[in-house]
């Protein structure tokens, strides 16, 4: 062996030894922090899958670490944008991959996930809902639904079972400028129209109303409250399409009248543009999700801090709000169902819900909404509770997406053409009826 080969060998040995030392050191360092901790350590991990939304920040940043500290169960939060998360969750449910223990779901997804068996039965797992839950919020977690027509294939006598729990009590509120509506919130939709007519000034970019007009879910959500307020509904008890009824047409015509006082191009507006129009002080009123409430008082984001108040959407024939809760369910394929259930029991206790509300979260229990400290921190909580109590959810069928797409396209067309309400609603109703019949519904 030459001296060069020998030197190389000794270098290799030295490298090998150094690598071993490094590995050993890393292993020791990995276990060192565990020394002296409570016996809670190592009780497994629960993985949350969710869509990204700032409304969940308090939960992620404050309450999950608190849960970890209290129980020793690690948590992991994986999120994606709304559409991507829906796909991921559906894939996980369908393939039973078990990548997630808890799915965070839009309440609209409950029929799809519970109906297809992607969610574990919470009653079987041993969860008993407290009486303190806001009833309308908790009812969204049941499948089949407690009220309303039932999706095709579900027996009329099938017992509603709990598959999901409300995570964030989101609902649509009327956001209005208190320096314009000086006498308090508008009592009726006619008041909103009147004020818009009087105070709108497009030259100064001041509009009486702003809404979402993009086809599909956004424009349907905007129209939903008006439809119900005017006495209309999406379906009758037997799934007969009702969104082309005289009340529905009247509601849509009123919607168009409001749009005369909305910013140009509202037919392309989604939630972000609607919210920005309010935050920049360019519109006096809008129905928006409670997720925006905190931002209107944030000086870094809002030009109208303190000038926006909140109320339940105004009345016409009746007063309703649109529910849009963040739900959570335990995946049927979850690897740590026990840990997930422990989280539900912990987070959905009245005490933690009150803490959650005091920290700025939107709770789902009545006592938390009524907590004085929480209401001082989040001034919209009393109105949110009222809105939740009179809230109407989207129709409880997994086929709603298709109907929403059909109706959403028609509504978008009406906004663009600024007319032809009856014609477009009738066409959408015919298409929706044909689809429902094809899907096996005995449309009345």
């Amino acid at each position: 062996m030459t001296s060069r080969e020998s030197a190389l060998r000794s270098k290799r040995r030295a490298f090998f030894r150094a690598s071993l030392r490094l590995l050993g050191g890393t292993a020791v360092a990995r276990f060192m922090p565990g020394c002296g901790k409570t016996s809670n350590k190592g009780r497994g991990k629960i993985t949350f899958g969710s869509y990204a939304d700032p409304a969940q920040d308090v939960l992620k940043e404050v309450f999950l670490p608190e849960f970890e500290r209290k129980t020793g169960i690690e948590t992991e939060w994986i999120e994606a944008d709304f559409s991507s998360w829906f796909q991921k969750a559906v894939n996980d449910g369908q393939t039973r991959a078990g990548a997630f223990d808890i799915y965070v779901l839009d309440d609209l997804w409950m029929p799809r996930f519970a109906g297809a068996g992607y969610l574990a039965n919470l009653e079987e797992l041993g969860f008993h809902p407290a009486a303190d839950f806001v009833e309308s919020a908790l009812s969204l977690g049941y499948w089949p639904p407690k009220a309303g027509p039932r999706q095709v294939g579900i027996e009329p006598q099938a017992r509603p079972t709990l598959f999901g729990l409300p995570l964030i009590g989101d609902v649509q509120l009327l956001f209005y400028r208190n320096d314009v509506y000086t006498g308090g919130p508008p009592a009726t939709w006619d008041d909103v129209l009147r004020m818009a007519r009087e105070k709108s000034d497009p030259a100064k970019r001041q509009y009486g109303w702003v809404t979402r007009g993009v086809k599909g879910n956004p424009v349907v959500n905007s129209y939903f409250v008006l439809l119900h307020t005017f006495g209309g509904q999406m379906f009758e008890e037997n799934w007969k399409v009702a969104f082309n009824s005289p009340q529905a047409v009247e509601a849509l015509e009123f919607f168009l009248r409001l749009l005369d006082y909305a910013p140009p191009g509202v037919a392309e507006f989604d939630s972000d543009q609607e919210g920005q129009t309010i935050l920049q002080g360019n519109a006096f009123a809008a129905t928006m999700w409670t997720g925006w409430c905190r931002q209107v008082d944030d000086l870094a984001k809002s030009r109208v801090a303190g000038k926006i108040s909140f109320s339940v959407p105004p009345k016409k024939v009746k007063q309703v709000a649109k529910l849009g809760l963040f739900m959570a369910g335990i995946a049927a394929s979850a690897t740590n169902k026990k840990g997930a259930l422990e989280f539900f029991n912990w987070f959905h206790s009245s005490a933690i819900q009150t803490e959650f509300a005091r920290a700025g979260g939107t709770p789902s229990m009545v006592s938390a909404f009524k907590d004085e400290q929480a209401c001082r921190k989040s001034r919209w909580l009393p109105e949110t509770l009222k809105a939740l109590s009179m809230g109407v959810p989207s129709p409880r069928t997994a086929d709603w997406y298709k109907i929403e797409d059909i109706l959403g396209t028609a509504l978008n067309q009406v906004l663009i053409e600024k007319g032809n309400c009856k014609r477009h609603l009738d066409a959408a109703a015919s298409e929706a009826t044909a689809f429902l019949k094809g899907a096996g519904y005995s449309v009345g």
Partner: protein, 343 residues
Amino acid sequence: MEEAGAAMSSDVPTSSGRSPRRNEKNATVSVDSRTLIGGKSGQKPGERPVGTTTRRRLFSFVPWVLLAPTVLFALALTILPLAYAVLTSLRSFRFGQPLGFIGLQNYFGLFRDPHFYSSLGTTLTFTIAATTFEFVLGMMLALLLKEEFPWQGLIRSCLMIPMIIAPVVVGIVWRLLYSSDVGLLSYALQWLTGHPISVLSNPSLALPGIILVDIWEWTPFMFLILLAGIQSLPQEPFEAARVDGAGPWATFRHLTLPMLRPVIVVALLIRALDAFTVFDQVFVLTQGGPGMATEVSTLMVYKTAFRFSQIGYAAAMAIALLVLVWALSAAVVRSLQVQTHRQ
């Protein structure tokens, strides 16, 4: 041949007693396929054959073994998913759960679906318009920037920027530009026309608006391929043309364009196939609206599969699109090949 045959058969010394490694250089030059499988060309005349039948059989598997990873890879990544998609298109699904085999019903439903035809028309309009403009602009840029000039590298690099931005980000940027309240383009259009124009909520302007985004993003790709093609052309014909007094237009028409034809075919095909599957920009900018004005086929497939959970129907749509794209591509390639052959 002697050394070559020995060298390629194995490391075992040959009957000539020479080490097979000595003449590797020669071996690479003169080896043929028979030597690879231990054929007779590696022997001296009159000598007993080194490769027996067993050995020949053994070596006959070598090409297959070498090809196997690639074939398996292709099977796993291309053929199997495609076969699965075809099978899926023949089944009925309800909320993601398979209900059973329904034959060609999904396809029959597709041919009766007016929305499918509408989305197909939108997709074809988008593809043809975007690819044509990108080709013309890309060619103009390539001709302009093919010569040496100061800051050439910097300018070419700047032109590449749109192409390296993720399509979703491009969509978001252009959504802000088109925004009817704060958008720069909307402001410019209002300044030019005197009244507010909202591109994305106007059924006549929304699709051209998305085409413009695609042109902005993908013209650099066309430019890059065409520039590479132009720079690789032999200079002699151009010098001869110059001597003969041919002008720039005649040189372009009778020399550059015909000689560049294979490159053009590849560039057009790649861009057209990519444009046919546009999704991100449409999803971010309009969600298919206003009305059905920008509802392209891929968006329809996506919604049908992931929102409406009609997986079988979505698979049928995807297969129909695949067949259509394949047929169109084959027709384009064939017609261009025929033209090249004639020339």
